[in-house]
């Protein structure tokens, strides 16, 4: 495991909002790497910079200083067009809500990043993904005809469809009840274990985080610690400790 390559890496990443007295260091010199084939979680209290870190890693936002790279590609010199195609081809996204385009059906949503790139993708792989999420009979349905949990599963399938180097999930279970949330987390777990994918998930839910292989804790824009083989109890414990 120690020889694994980095799917995403941040070096001395700093993000400053505002100026002068109003200056806020959302990220304050964060250096971190996320290994290929792992399910990682980023945790931390509100305002700790966990979402900012994820957005900067994913090329949605830019750093004030420092650097980030995806699968060895430094994002800093990339223009909007290059960043867009990087997001399309090498990164998958799952957001908390509003993940799907309402006018497209489930299947069209799943292959959307591929279609945008003018590709049809690896059919066998897409079939495997669809079977894994277990929504083959709902492929022709519009998002409004799917339950919240089903929508999130379609979103994860979309993130997987292009075989990205890394998937970023921002509170993917935040809008779901605990039972559906667990289904979605199980599915993400399987995507890593069975399908060999790499997932980085931002969450503040200890149960959700306990599905990950490793948890990175952030506080005040800095890395505050790491935890492997987490359980909900240990995570809650750690967070309590972190809050002090």
């Amino acid at each position: 495991m120690s020889l694994a390559s980095a799917a995403a890496e941040a070096a001395n990443a700093t993000k400053i909002y505002g100026e002068g007295d109003n200056e806020i260091h959302a990220l304050d010199g964060v250096s971190i790497r996320f290994d290929v084939g792992r399910f990682s979680a980023i945790m931390g209290p509100s305002g700790s910079g966990k979402s900012t870190l994820m957005h900067c890693l994913a090329g949605l936002d830019s750093l004030s200083s420092g650097s980030v790279s995806i699968a060895g590609t430094d994002l800093a010199p990339l223009n909007d067009k290059a960043l867009t195609s990087l997001r399309r081809e090498q990164i998958g996204f799952v957001f908390q809500a509003f993940n799907l385009i309402p006018t497209l059906n489930a299947f069209e949503n799943i292959v959307l990043p591929l279609s945008l790139g003018g590709q049809s993708g690896d059919e066998a792989w897409i079939n495997q993904v669809i079977d894994t999420i277990g929504l083959r009979d709902r492929l022709k349905h519009r998002p409004s005809e799917l339950s919240g949990g089903q929508q999130q599963r379609v979103a994860i399938a979309r993130a997987l469809a292009s075989k990205p180097k890394i998937i970023f999930a921002d509170e993917p279970t935040g809008n779901l009840d605990s039972k559906t949330g667990r289904e979605v987390l199980d599915f993400m777990r399987r995507a890593v274990t069975d399908l060999g994918q790499t997932i980085v998930m931002v969450t503040h839910d200890a149960v959700a985080a306990s599905y990950a292989d490793i948890i990175v804790f952030l506080k005040d824009g800095k890395v505050a610690g790491e935890m492997t083989e987490p359980t909900p109890e240990r995570v809650l414990d750690y967070l309590k400790h972190l809050g002090e």
Binding site: H55, A58, L60, D61, D80, K81, T84, S85, R87, R88, E89, G92, F93, F95, Q96, A97, F98, N99, I101, P102, T103, L104, E108, L112, P113, S115, L116, G117, G118, R158, D170
Partner: protein, 845 residues
């Protein structure tokens, strides 16, 4: 609440501006029309009160024939009665007056002044009563070789005193010595017309007939009132002379009313188009308010939740519309001032010169413009405002920002019923019912289509989007779905395009039918090689001796003249076509049904088959005819012919006019060349006697047919120009809707950008959505337009002779332009869509 709606209005300045734009454009057209018409009216009113300022009484013939489209032709009066008038006590002076056709020819042989604009007059100027004419330079003309002209013409033609000037009039083409240049009152030329002035004997002989004038102008010594003087003169004149006397005030008013009537027609025409623009503006406003109300659902629900009443919510929106209406109308009024100039320019561009003059802005214009603008805006906002008021407070907690788009079956049925009623009314109008059915039918058909619109918008938008999806892939698919996702909105946005396209299509189809008709009828009648023609706007033309001159040329084998005249048939003024039965056969062929054209005599008349049928006339039937000079005749129907589209249903013999005391000009002279004479040789010889003297235009057969049918293009160009503003409003409507849709879909666009949609793909999606929307309007518009064109053709073409002909080319051009409109309208909204910040869009998730 007022304060709140004021704040809410001002908080959205961009939207405020765009919504106002629809109102600004609509009201600008309205106020522009008013200002333009008022200015024109005032100019002519002023002109006529100037012309008759020193005239206390006016004597003229009581014989006249009313001309279609207003105006009249009056008989000439003998100059001898002038002595009778002069002998009436109270008369200090009286002179003859003539206002007849006389065209000044430039030094290079071209006619001076525009051929479609203000008329070219010839008249009398005399020492004893020069009216308002005062010599600028030189002196008054005396004798048969001298003339004077107005200073505008002199300047335009670069004439100086001492020059030799050619003038064409009733008696032919002659040269005069220019002895003076005159100014009319304090203007160089009244109303932009041209004037060639002579002494009385010369003017009578050259312009009318020796010893005749059009009227007597009388000056009073002041001992009697004008009314008393006019009565005295009337009493002194013998009844047999058939003269009548008017006071100066009466003739001034009569002339002002006459031109006022003609101008009234023009301003009604313009007003109709400004109302179309306003109506289209209504749709845009209604649409914008509907979308805004839907987007503010949560905001309004929140207000309701914290205690605002339904009425307060509705009122807030209405106040917003009031502010927009007021602001837009005020700006529209000012824009109208500029637009009135634009209308002058537009009319000028298609050949109707309008005399320039200061602007006439009346208080009425300000009031009507602002009240109409505000009313239109507020009325368009009422439905959306009421809908906004019905928002349940609970909606604040729900996560919907979309309009409800449930398909409404009863709505669909009602729309279809209204459409069917309209179509029935149109068919009735086409079959010959009252033309009121036409207007009603058009309104109902439009209303029906607009009501049904939302019901069919989804399937049609999906159908239209199909090829786009095939070509553009996933961006096309999304554009297609976006255009179809909100059928009500799509239908409302497309409505202005639909109306504009329908009107353009109808007029275009109508025009091409008329053109084809003209082409066919001239083509079948005219068998010669060359044509000499003069524009005839009911005033002047080619002097009747020209045809004889041409006929005597060795290069010409045959020449025949054709003209138009006004006569009374069974007591009613009618336009008749005038031809020569002796010289026409083989060169100008009428498609006869009964008898032959060459058997027509000056005591007979040819009638169209359908007119004869409708009046119950047969060969030999007698009809009463009265000429302008009062001559009464009884004519026999000597033949019937197949009617040709838009031409008069009567033909009379040219000999009825030649040598009589009635003004008559030929409009065209058809020529057949002598065998063996080359076209080039003939052309040179013909030019020498025609165009070199400013006598008409010499054209080959093909050129003539092209230019005759091309005249329709002028009217069409004017209509296009007037519809342009409506089309701009329609574009503004699409722009606003797209902007609001982009605003509404920010999260969606942010998501798409995050998962890998490039900026240019975002643009593509918005662009194709816009194109689908405008094509939706265009396709239905074209269908409606063709329907209207067919009906219009059936109604306007007398007896349904002219066949409807659809120009496939023009229709395709209209569709292509609608496509371009869609692309253009999307430019700004698409740019806004690419500017959506991914981070912000995601943050609001």
């Amino acid at each position: 609440m007022v304060k709140l709606s004021l704040k809410m209005t001002l908080a959205r300045k961009g939207r405020l501006f765009l919504t106002s734009l629809a109102i600004i454009l609509g009201t600008a057209f309205l106020s522009g029309t008013f200002i333009f018409s008022d200015t024109l009216n005032r100019t002519f009113d002023q002109l006529f009160s100037d012309v008759y300022r020193d005239v206390d009484a006016y004597v003229r013939s009581s014989n006249f024939v009313e001309v279609q489209f207003g105006g009249e032709q009056r008989a000439r009066i003998p100059i001898g009665e002038l002595d009778t008038v002069r002998s009436v006590p109270g008369v200090v002076n009286s002179v003859g007056a003539i206002s007849a056709f006389a065209r000044i020819i430039n030094k290079d042989g071209t006619p001076l002044g525009s051929t479609n604009g203000p008329p070219n007059f010839g008249g009398i100027v005399s020492e004893s009563f020069s009216g308002l004419w005062s010599a600028d330079s030189g002196r008054l003309p005396v004798g048969p070789t001298e003339m004077m002209m107005d200073s505008w013409s002199a300047k335009k033609g670069r004439f100086q005193v001492g020059d030799t000037v050619r003038v064409n009039a009733q008696s032919g083409s002659r040269q005069f010595t220019l002895v003076g240049i005159a100014t009319f009152g304090n203007v160089s030329s009244p109303g932009g017309a041209t004037f060639a002035l002579f002494d009385q004997p010369t003017a009578s002989e050259f312009l009318l007939a020796p010893g005749f004038v059009d009227a007597f102008l009388v000056q009073s010594d002041g001992s009697l009132t004008d009314v008393e003087l006019a009565a005295k003169i009337d009493a002194a004149l013998p009844a047999s002379a058939k003269l009548e006397t008017l006071t100066g005030a009466e003739i001034t008013k009569e002339e002002q009313d006459l031109i006022g009537e003609a101008l009234g027609f023009l301003s009604t025409f313009l007003t109709a188009f400004s109302l179309i623009a306003l109506g289209i503006g209504c749709f845009v406003i209604y649409n914008v308010f509907s979308i805004t109300a839907a987007q503010r659902l949560r905001e309004n629900a929140l207000l309701r939740a914290i205690g605002a009443s339904r009425r307060q919510i509705t009122r807030a929106l209405l106040i917003e519309s009031l502010i927009i209406g007021l602001l837009g109308s005020i700006l529209g009024f000012f824009a109208g001032i500029g637009l009135s100039r634009g209308l002058s320019a537009l009319l000028g561009a298609v050949g109707f010169d309008i005399p320039a003059s200061g602007l006439s802005i009346e208080l009425r214009t300000v009031i009507i413009t602002i009240i109409t603008g505000v009313l239109v805006t507020v009325l368009s906002a009422i439905l959306p405002a009421r809908r906004a008021g019905r928002v349940p407070p609970l909606a604040a907690l729900r996560d919907t920002a979309f309009e409800t788009t449930g398909r409404n079956r009863s709505r669909f049925t009602i729309g279809l019923v209204i459409f069917a009623l309209g179509a029935t009314a149109l068919m009735a109008a086409g079959a010959g019912a009252n033309t009121a059915f036409l207007g009603l039918g058009v309104l109902l058909v439009f209303a029906g289509v607009l009501i049904v619109g939302p019901g069919v918008a989804r399937p049609i938008a999906l159908w239209l989007g199909h090829p786009i999806e095939k070509i553009r892939g996933v961006t096309g698919a999304m554009a297609r779905q976006n255009a179809a996702r909100n059928p009500k909105r799509t239908a409302r946005t497309a409505a202005p395009v639909l109306i504009g396209v329908a009107l353009v299509t109808a007029f275009t189809a109508f025009a091409s039918s008329v053109k084809a008709e003209i082409r066919d009828s001239i083509g079948s009648q005219f068998r010669g090689d060359y044509v000499v023609s003069a524009p005839n706007n009911g005033f002047g033309g080619l002097n009747p001796t020209l045809v004889d001159e041409l006929d005597s040329m060795p290069q010409v084998a045959q020449a025949t003249a054709l003209g138009y005249a006004t006569i009374k048939i069974n007591g009613k003024g009618e336009f008749v076509q005038v031809f020569d039965p002796q010289t026409s056969p083989g060169l100008f062929e009428i498609e006869m049904v009964q008898n032959k054209q060459e058997s027509l005599t000056p005591n007979g008349i040819l009638v169209s088959e359908s007119r004869a049928k409708s009046r119950g006339w047969v060969i030999g039937s007698k009809i009463d005819l009265e000429m302008v000079d009062g001559t009464m005749r009884e004519l026999a129907i000597q033949g019937t012919f197949r009617p040709t589209g838009f031409f008069s249903p009567y033909f009379v013999d040219r000999q009825m006019f030649i040598g009589t005391n009635n003004s008559y000009f030929d409009s065209v002279i058809y020529l057949k060349l002598t065998e063996g004479v080359s076209a080039a040789e003939a052309h040179d010889a013909l030019v020498a006697v025609t165009t070199d003297k400013g006598l008409g235009e010499l054209q080959s057969r093909d050129e003539f047919i092209d230019s005759q049918s091309g005249q329709v293009n002028q009217i069409l160009a004017l209509i296009y120009g007037l519809l342009a503003l409506s089309v701009i409003i329609a574009i503004v409507g699409i722009v606003i809707t797209l902007l609001l849709s982009v605003f509404e879909r920010q999260r969606e666009i942010g998501l798409l950008r995050a998962i890998g949609m490039t900026r240019s793909q975002v643009r593509t999606t918005v662009r194709w959505e816009s194109v689908i929307t405008s094509m939706f309007g265009a396709v239905i518009g074209v269908v409606l337009g063709i329907l209207m064109g067919v009906v219009l053709m059936a109604v306007l073409a007398d007896n349904g002779v002219a066949a409807f002909r659809l120009s496939i080319g023009s229709t395709l051009v209209i569709l292509v332009l609608s496509f371009v409109i869609g692309v253009l309208a999307a430019i700004y909204p698409a740019r806004r869509a690419t500017k959506v910040e991914i981070m912000q869009a995601i943050a609001t998730m």
